[in-house]
Amino acid sequence: MHSFRFSAEPLPPEAEAARASVRAFLDAERAAGHFVPHRTSWTTFDAAFSRRAGAAGLIGLTLPEAYGGHGRSGLVRFVVTEEMLAAGAPCGAHWIADRQSGPQIHRHGTEAAKRAILPRICRGECAFGIGMSEPNSGSDLAAVRTRAVRDGDGWVINGSKIWTTNAHQVDYLLALVRTGEPGPDRHGGLTQFIVDMAAPGVTVRPILDLSGHHEFNEVFFTDYRVADAMRVGAEGAGWGLVTEELAFERSGPDRFLSDYRLLVELVDRIGPEPDRFQAVETGRMVAQLTALLGMSASVARLLDQGVVPGVEAALVKDVGNGFERAVPEIARRLVPVEPSLTAQGDAFREALGGVTLRAPSFTLRGGTREVLRGVIARGLGLR
């Protein structure tokens, strides 16, 4: 029969011990007016916040000290990330580098890349984007067509990427490009490169999302030159690498805590004496959230042990995104208000408006539910 590698052990004491310091940092940030919880989220790009988080030792926790990191366990990092999410902190300028690009470069990058980039990531001074999707390659990542061709001691890249979150603000992209033939399983011939967004040959076109917000972009490479030292992993090994990276991308609490602030606003808006409908639905959401927190913590434990729990990560994301999508739908049934992005002073209406317009992306970004269900089905032995 199938078996999932979840467990219910509490987080280790050294991870729990980190909680107090991250809370102290966040309290100070809020008190200084550096962010307003329900108006920001983990995707909100705020370079100054990330620099302060870096200075406070909250970024690059799992990276070795030799590269400016803190040599801590993934579970310490887990506690820091969930506290950031619960606080609604604007982590967009360091989230991707901290969550996946930095660890990926550390595992598979060249020494030169590690020395040049990891210390800056740890200081919160170096933002990364994910260059996977292309106009004709969304769910079907193996269809990537942007191509890198060897040229002397480097490579020349031509093509484009799309939906690249914060491409207009990041320093680097970790891009998946074609360097060879796909082969019979279509997974061959892909390689990851670190793309310097400031170098010539890269242009960015903004794409506005449903709320009119500029977060993602299209990125074009025209004879863009990259040194071989910026290749991450062996030539043609890209598929295995992105699969590993996606386990980090999919299993974290960011996959179900995107609207956590809306839940908080909802509880406050309902007040201490809910009617039965409000109590039941609030309790239902909290029960779902508690289960997800347990699942996510146990995936973090597996990742920390060097296991790549692709299926468990997909389960966290699929169940988690289902929860995230449901929160605004439930909230509007419990408290009848008209959502608005500009209801200054009405935190609940604003949070509801913001989340309603963002929610469709939850089950798309990082892999659609349909694709995740395929991954889960494979894990169940069905394909």
Binding site: F6, L11, V267, P272, A279, A287, T290, R373, G374
Partner: protein, 377 residues
Amino acid sequence: MDHAAEAGDPVDGIVLDQVERLLAQHLTPALLAACDGAAGATARAADLWPADLWTALAESGLPLALVPEAEGGIGLAATTAARLIRRCGRAALPLPLPETVAGAALWAATGGQVAEDALSLVPGGGPVRIAPHAEGFVLDGRVAQVPWGGSVAALLLDAVDAAGIPHLVRIAAPGTLRDTHHNLAGEPRDTLDLTGCIVPAADVRAAPGWAAGAGAPSVESVGAWVRAQQMVGALETCLGSALAHAQERQQFGRPLAKFQAIQHMLAEAAGHVAAATAAADLAAACWGDPRFVLATAIAKARCGEAAGHVAAIGHQIHGAMGFTQEHPLHRATRRLWSWRDEFGSDALWQERIGRAVCAGGGAALWPMLVRLRGGAG
């Protein structure tokens, strides 16, 4: 799925293996069919009470599995006892071993004397009152939906005294059996009139000191804890059966498992099973500590929600074959549909969680979630 080898303590592993063996040996299809009151069964096991099986379980000391060794039990970790109960749920064991395991441990925790006899837990509902009496206390009240209430040697129930103070009460000689109903799975759920029942003072006790005040464990919450763990077992059975069927059954020239619609249904079911298990694991880990009642509420609510989805998907994938009594699927699904509503429906527990959360306010929610998982909120 969990295997005995995963249990940290070797004794725990031995006990789980023993349960597995006993269940495999005794739970023949004929016995299970009789217990479910299935068509063609000669007699209802509800009336039968598979005594040989109970004797075998009792001889292995299993009724006191969760009672500490110092008090005559096996002293299993609560997380292992939860696994034992899941196995009973997985196998559709037609006996109240799960109720007995948890009830005996609860009773031992109050300082009460425990025995290996079958014990049942009385669900919440109408209040049973107790009043002082020359020989101890006298009861007043009627209880309904008591699992195997007509067959067990003793009952545990929540009762209140004249001042409204809650107590846990053990009744060694249950009152008059008024009525036997069966849940959707054919398990007996009895109504008993306890009025006039006299219990010695030693059998009326305060809830154990796991948590002060409103968070104190009640018989109702321990029953909910048991049903949540049993539901995990039945969810595993249901999903496992659907997976196996999807791989065996061919339509349009290929196994059902190859159709994307089927894969997605099964993936969705797997998500519910994983989430329900995570919630039940948490409740198992919280046995005996101040988080017990809240963690149990969450587990009962989450498992209850999963039950409906997973049972529906299980039946859809099995097609008409699964809609018969010839196929064993119904043993899991009829129990899921019953257990989710026993000892408080998911909605009842959700309501309690919601009231607690709203009373605390938004800012208190995150620290509460962190404390639940064992951290310092």
